[in-house]
């Protein structure tokens, strides 16, 4: 009547226990890390639109200012998108028969809006306001990335709550001079006013920006 288990059982038992412990730790690790990966946040995912509009060409190449199309960025909560009428100001003159622009022409003809798809999106319960950010020295590039060299719009930032909180806790280093707000190529140079000077200029800091009532209601 030999022993119940073979000698190899020792190693097997240790392996099983270690793998169990490893599995649990891996699970916790995945649950903690995966949501903050770029993959999970769809960062750098290009969203296909009804019309492949190229910012690189229009902003980088032609130098059109953001506010030409996104008209309400300085006065309203949403930045707004251009009505088809704005596109057709030029495209009624040039590329008038391009197959690529057929949806634009059809939209104006049939008075049916173009269904653009959102790229940098926040959940519905977050009430982001463009006007106050632009007024307080936050540039478009801070959240939308280098739009000037994006052939097709892609999501540049993770847009997690942590991303917003990092800036709301310490806005100074992320501010930029008023003239550089809409310049996506801007970066800080030695003669750029110091963060403290910018904070004073924009008079930021009178309010606790990490209150929940700032973004949620």
């Amino acid at each position: 009547m030999a022993a119940i288990f073979p000698p190899a059982a020792n190693l097997a038992a240790k392996l099983v226990l270690l793998s169990l412990a490893g599995l649990v730790l891996a699970g916790i690790g995945w649950w903690w890390l995966f949501p903050r990966t770029d993959y999970a946040r769809h960062v750098d995912w290009t969203v296909d639109q009804p019309v492949p509009f190229s910012h690189q060409h229009h902003v980088g190449g032609l130098g059109i200012d953001c506010r030409f199309c996104h008209t309400t960025v300085e006065v309203a909560g949403n930045a707004g998108l251009p009505p088809t009428y704005t596109c057709m100001t030029c495209h009624s003159q040039i590329w008038t028969n391009a197959a690529l622009l057929a949806p634009v022409r059809r939209s104006l003809a049939e008075n049916v809006p173009i269904r653009w798809r959102r790229v940098t999106d926040l959940p519905d319960y977050v009430y982001f306001n463009h006007a106050i950010h632009v007024a307080k020295g936050v540039g478009c590039e801070s959240c939308h990335g280098q739009v000037a060299d994006m052939p097709l719009m892609r999501k540049a930032r993770s847009m997690t709550m942590g991303f917003c909180l990092d800036c709301h806790r310490d806005p100074a280093p992320r501010l930029r001079p008023p003239e550089a707000i809409f310049d996506t190529q801007w970066h800080r140079t030695p003669d750029t006013p110091s963060p403290a000077a910018l904070m004073a200029h924009y008079r930021v800091g009178g309010r606790n920006l990490t209150d929940c009532s700032i973004c949620h209601r």
């Binding site: 119940i4 288990f5 059982a9 020792n10 038992a13 916790i28 649950w31 903690w32 949501p35 903050r36 993770s158 997690t160 709550m161 942590g162 909180l165």
Partner: protein, 457 residues
Amino acid sequence: MTGPTRDDRGITRPRLGDPVALSTSNAAMTEHVSAVPFRSQPFARYWLAVAPFGALTAVLLGSILYLFYAGVGIWGIDWPVVWGFALINYVWWIAIASGGTFISALFYLTRSEWRNAINRIAETMTLFGAVCAGIYPILHLGRPWFFYWLFPYPNTMDLYPQFRSPLLWDFFAILTYVISSVLFWYFGLLPDLATMRDRATKRGWQIFYGALALGFRGSSTQWRHYHVTYGVLAAIMAPLVCSVHSIVGLDFAGAATPGWHSTQFPPFFIFGAFLSGFATVLLLVIALRRLLRLQDWMTGRHFDALCKLLLTSSLFVGYAYTMDGFSIFYGGEKAEIVNYTDRLFGYYAPIYWGAVLFNVIVPQLLWIRTIRVNQVLVTLISLGVIVGMWFERYTIVVGSLHRPHLPSAWGLYHGSLWDWLTLMGTVGLFVFGILLAIRIVPAMSMFEMRDTLEQQR
């Protein structure tokens, strides 16, 4: 010392003055106890007993799925009584579970000799009681799929739970309590698993018990560490269960609601845990003693000891009720007095007086020695206590909530069909779990029993 008196069907009736163990041979005890799991039917008509409770467990599963699908609205809770059966059952189950830990940990420290026969049943009861209690904090959430926000894991929102909330203390208390109970139960089981491994004949059982025993073979070094560690673990489990049940009490005492706002809730809940724990252990001991023929080792001595403890804890609870009334009138706050008088004479008064009757008055019968060993009466008293404790939790939760400060917000509450189905479901889960456990795990701690038998000789 009178020998074991068996009546015609070989069932030993508990007698006053019984020794801790009637038959004192090690081998017979080990043979009898370890044989139970190997039999396909631990007792006659075993599967017939398991079937109804299995069905109730299925009912529980069904009502949980429907709850997640339709929302908490299917229960009877409304406004202002936003807590109902979920909290009543949660406190009721955790009290039953805590009672088990008192017996297996507290009375190990006091070296009570009658403890070794019933501590395995008590710990198994703790396990399944904690499971039944543990599901309720998640079920009663409005959005149960976000329960993990209670855990302080570093998330993308940079948000952590709010540590001043009694509910969060509750989350950690239950988490710790379930893990500790499982570890303490498993740790106490190691030597018996080794025995089962060695006595198993079929290869399947050998591998199963062998794997679980993790190579315990009773060597002196193993025993040396085991004995010390078990003692220290028991020494930690006793204050742990007191803290867990105090925190459950703080769930209510931490609020400013009239009726909850009193500092005596933590000890009051621990008295409640004593009472419902001993009552449930008594019920299980009476049942399993008869079904698994363990009369030789669960004798009148155990009945006597447990009934005395039941009596003392019911006196504790009685004291707590009077202190409840006294502190409210002594405090003199108008809303509290209105709430309390309504509890005594209002809509839910019968439930309050039912609680007082079953928890305090009926157990006084146990002063009479002969009743303490009369199995039928002890069963009835224990059942009464269990139902009485449920009534008490009903008055604490619903009785206080339906009379808030402002009369404009007064309202009533009635349990809905789904409340009762979930409650019956958890009772089914509890008994179904215990019936399965005695099928796998020896119902009595053999190695501790050997010490007791040795002292008995």
